[in-house]
């Protein structure tokens, strides 16, 4: 079975695509850090961040629709976590409701924090989506490794990327085999049991696959140490982009901070 690539559009060519993965990784990390450190009251700061990331998306020739769609995935999670903030944050009351026995009040301060959490999460995920849409996963892994992320972590990520589709295929085949035998007509409890044992089977199969993969690694001289050959270099364009992007993001962060203090 064929699946879409996780890193769709990463094989296109643009200024952003051609950057060294290390540059992009550091830039995204810096961006997220700056966004997180900016005070909730500083809306102009967030506007500048948005303009920066929007400019990058346009530069990268990745369809805007795709980036937006991908970025919305995070929203339900954030809302679920942040939805209670307006009710618990203390401050000036914006509205008060009676729900049966309870009196619930929403504060201005709380609302501000709520929107801010949403905005920060969305900006960060936009940056990450742009990163993965313009960089091949393999380059990303190599970049992480060159940035001295522990090899074990890089290997785990690489295995995940390699086997996520193999596992999806396995689940789909099991599902097809199950549905071919008229699954869904029995009692509810029986159905749940079937799904449970399928999950168990998947775990066992994955475990056994792990053993076979390990044997295949041993057969090629693996001795517990991971090694990699040296990769490509760092170019002038990376320098220019890194400095430019870094300056824009850091300055925005510092100005918002100063503005608030003064």
């Amino acid at each position: 079975m064929k699946h879409s690539f996780l890193d769709k559009y990463s094989d296109r060519d643009s200024l952003v695509h051609r950057l060294d993965p290390r540059t992009k990784l550091v830039a995204v990390f810096l961006f997220i850090l700056a966004v997180a450190l900016t005070s909730p009251a500083m809306w102009p700061g967030f506007a500048v961040y948005f303009v920066i990331i929007a400019a990058l998306v346009l530069l990268s020739h990745v369809p805007v629709r795709y980036v937006l769609k991908r970025s919305l995935v995070i929203i339900p999670f954030v809302v679920l976590i942040a939805v209670f903030i307006p009710f618990f944050k203390e401050g000036e009351v914006a509205g008060s409701y009676n729900i049966w026995l309870w009196q619930v009040s929403v504060t201005h301060n709380g609302l501000q924090v709520f929107w801010n959490v949403l905005a920060k999460a969305w900006l960060s995920i936009l940056a990450l989506v742009t990163l993965t849409a313009t960089t091949k996963i393999t380059d990303l892994l190599r970049g992480l490794e060159q940035l001295r992320l522990p090899r074990v972590m890089v290997m785990i990520l690489s295995f995940m990327y390699r086997y996520i589709f193999v596992l999806t295929d396995e689940v789909m085949r099991m599902k097809q085999a199950r549905d071919s035998r008229n699954f869904g007509s029995g009692r509810r409890l029986w159905q749940i049991k079937t799904v449970g044992s399928m999950t168990g089977t998947l775990f066992i199969r994955s475990y056994e696959r792990g053993e076979r993969v390990y044997a295949a690694m041993l057969a090629r001289g693996y001795d517990g140490q991971t090694r990699t050959p040296d990769g490509p270099g760092f170019r002038a364009a990376d320098m220019v982009f890194g400095l430019g992007f870094g300056a824009a993001v850091v300055l925005t962060c510092i100005f918002s901070f100063l503005y608030q203090v003064i």
Binding site: S158, R162, Y163, R212, V213, A216, A219, R220, G221, P229
Partner: protein
């Protein structure tokens, strides 16, 4: 005595649950031979292959290039005896074909330049040049099987051990693989159910039946 690459004497093995998998295996393989290992499912073919490069412990009953396989020479044994597993999804575990083919040479401590040359040569040999940057998940089964063989060839092994190399391939893919295996300059040991492959490639056939018996007229090394 001919130049002997593998000698197995009275090898037995039981699965962790106690069920016997191999019992009293005797086998000798000389350099340059092409040996087929046939037998029903569950006869222990794959288990036997796992002993050849020390993945399963052998208690000195398996001798490779005259030396018993043990902890101290595992690395050497695994370089000289390349084992290709049946399922390429187990053999190809890296994000790209290049990384997989490079895995062996890197573990052997080759330099960056040597790794690249070994990978290029191995991919060339299996007709997969230019596939280095591809992700193995998106290859066809035939391409996966050939890449899996390349991951072994990049270490320049003297013996190539294959577990059902043609299983699940369509006839064209199968014949292409057979032609490929024919060209490889190494001793071959092939576990298979494919008798066409055996007829085409192998000068000698070992039948491995239920764990109680095995049939190798030359088992005593003659």
């Amino acid at each position: 005595m001919m130049d002997e690459v593998i000698r197995i004497e009275n090898l037995s093995y039981a699965y962790p649950d106690g069920q016997p998998a191999l019992s009293g295996i005797d086998l000798a393989v000389s350099r340059g031979e092409s040996v087929a290992l046939i037998g029903p499912n569950g006869a222990g073919k794959s288990t036997l292959l796992l002993h050849l490069n020390g993945i399963l412990h052998t208690d000195g009953r398996v001798r490779v290039f005259g030396q018993p396989v043990g902890e101290e020479n595992l690395k050497e044994v695994r370089r000289r005896i390349g084992l290709v597993f049946q399922n390429p999804d187990d053999q190809l575990f890296s994000a790209t074909v290049f990384d997989d083919v490079a895995f062996g040479p890197i573990n052997l401590g080759y330099s960056g330049e040597d790794v690249r040359r070994a990978v290029a040569d191995a991919l060339e040999m299996v007709g997969m040049s230019g596939y280095g940057t591809r992700s193995s998940h998106h290859l066809s089964l035939g391409e996966k099987k050939r890449s899996a063989i390349a991951t072994i060839l990049s270490m320049s092994p003297e013996v190539i051990v294959l577990d059902e190399p043609t299983s699940n391939l369509d006839p064209r893919g199968k014949w292409r693989l057979i032609q490929l295996l024919k060209k490889l300059p190494a001793t071959r040991i092939i576990a298979t159910h494919d008798l066409e492959l055996v007829a085409e490639l192998c000068g000698r056939v070992i039948v491995l039946d239920e764990p109680t018996s095995n049939l190798d007229p030359r088992g005593s090394g003659g």
